[in-house]
């Protein structure tokens, strides 16, 4: 059986791929690992919902789950922080280098060409 983190990931991938809210049973059917106990799927869905990554709505006796935000939105959130564009220069991450623009980028480009020619 896969680790819990890996399972959360594949379940999110399934829900992102399907455009409609799914029940735990439907998610279980789409998952690659067929030996998975239905309760495990329910547990993971519940965990993801509690963390705020899924929203759920009642459908009869079951819950239907769907992603709270798109995958791209999360990637964008990560990258905004990674590129230090959130505005508050905190020390949450240590970055390799920032991209620059305008005249400074030209200076860098010139230096790069020189280095590559040598």
């Amino acid at each position: 059986m896969k680790g819990l983190g890996e399972l959360e990931r594949s379940i999110m991938d399934i829900l992102w791929a399907e455009n409609t809210p799914l029940t735990a049973r439907e998610v279980g059917r789409l998952i690659e690992d067929r030996d998975l106990a239905p309760t495990t799927v329910m547990t993971v869905l519940d965990r993801l919902a509690r963390k705020g990554f899924l929203t759920r709505t009642r459908d009869g006796r079951a819950w239907r789950y769907q992603p709270a935000a798109s995958r791209d939105a999360y990637v964008a959130e990560l990258m905004l922080e990674a590129l230090d564009m959130t505005g508050d220069r905190d020390a949450a991450l240590t970055r390799f280098a920032r991209a620059v623009s305008g005249s400074e980028a030209e200076i860098l480009l010139k230096a790069l060409t020189e280095l590559e020619e040598e």
Binding site: T86, G87, A105
Partner: protein
């Protein structure tokens, strides 16, 4: 009154030294030593400023800051009798407030940083993938150039998919060696108090410059460490490719002003390396930092 005067002088000296240090270029020849000096200056400035105010306020006890403060807290008798005592009272309030601010802010900044990292880690677990070409590194599908380290007990090195396309394998190795240095030396902990101080005094140009200096020195220290595993030229070209990759429009005002020239400064250093600072100089600076950092606590004990 002597303790108060000496502590006030010490705080002034630290501020002037910090101001001078923001212009200094020898620091680039010994980034690690310079970082230590910065930490020592910051700590001593804080302790000396608080100490000067408290020493002045608690002067009548003639017992120094530490014991005077203990006696004041036990007796809760400050003795406001003449106008001069109001000045002392003001100094006491100011000193205690500064102490509270300088303790609380790094703690708050630390807590906020931990929250941001936790969120970042959760998101990474959901959207980042492993890439066989770069084992142990998390890859995020994003066309722009990004490479960073998410520090913590289990630090993670993350790069964007765009980085894989942007860099040659030798350059990528150099970038990863640089990030590994950040992880190993916990540079995030070095940066935290300076980021907190900046938040405490956002209008201070000196604090802003100090933070930028330390940020640059930390990058240079990681560059130096990376050179043990890659050649300077590859690290330099990787830096330049990153710097010119601006695939994203820069949002107005978001990036601040301190970014310029830091990439070029690092590249220059790699391509035209200067002689490292002689060991004797580094030792002197080191010793000076230690003496400085111990002086303020000792002065807190000086009676009168």
């Amino acid at each position: 009154m002597i303790a108060a005067a000496v502590l006030a002088a010490l705080a002034m000296i630290c501020a002037v030294a910090a101001w001078r240090l923001t212009f200094a270029r020898w620091t680039w020849r010994a980034p690690r030593t310079a970082i230590l000096l910065w930490q020592s200056l910051g700590l001593t400035w804080g302790l000396a400023s608080i100490g000067a105010l408290l020493a002045f306020a608690l002067d009548p006890y003639r017992k120094g800051v530490v014991h005077g403060l203990a006696e004041f807290l036990l007796s809760v008798e400050f003795g406001v009798r003449q106008p001069y005592d109001y000045l002392r009272l003001a100094a006491l309030v100011a000193g205690l407030s500064l102490l509270a601010v300088l303790v609380a802010l790094p703690l708050a900044a630390g807590a906020q940083t931990l929250r941001a990292r936790r969120r970042h880690r959760l998101l990474l677990a959901l959207v980042a993938r492993d890439e066989p070409a770069v084992p142990g590194v998390r890859v995020v599908d994003f066309p722009g150039a990004a490479a960073y380290c998410l520090p913590g007990l289990k630090s993670q090195v993350v790069i964007s998919d765009g980085t894989l396309h942007l860099l040659s394998s030798a350059e990528l190795e150099a970038v990863l060696a640089h990030e590994a240095a950040h992880v190993r030396e916990r540079h995030d902990l070095v940066l935290l108090p300076f980021a907190a101080l900046r938040r405490a005094l956002p209008w201070s140009k000196l604090v802003r410059d100090a933070q930028a200096s330390v940020e640059l020195l930390v990058e240079m220290a990681a560059d130096d460490r990376a050179l043990q595993r890659c050649c300077p030229r590859r690290l330099a070209t990787a830096l330049l490719r990153f710097g010119t990759s601006a695939a994203l429009p820069t949002p107005q005002g978001a990036l601040g002003v301190s970014a310029p020239s830091s990439v070029m400064a690092r590249v220059d250093r790699l391509v035209r390396p200067e002689v490292a600072l002689p060991a004797a100089h580094r030792f002197l600076i080191l010793a000076g930092s230690v003496v400085l950092a111990t002086s303020a606590p000792l002065l807190w004990l000086l009676p009168g």
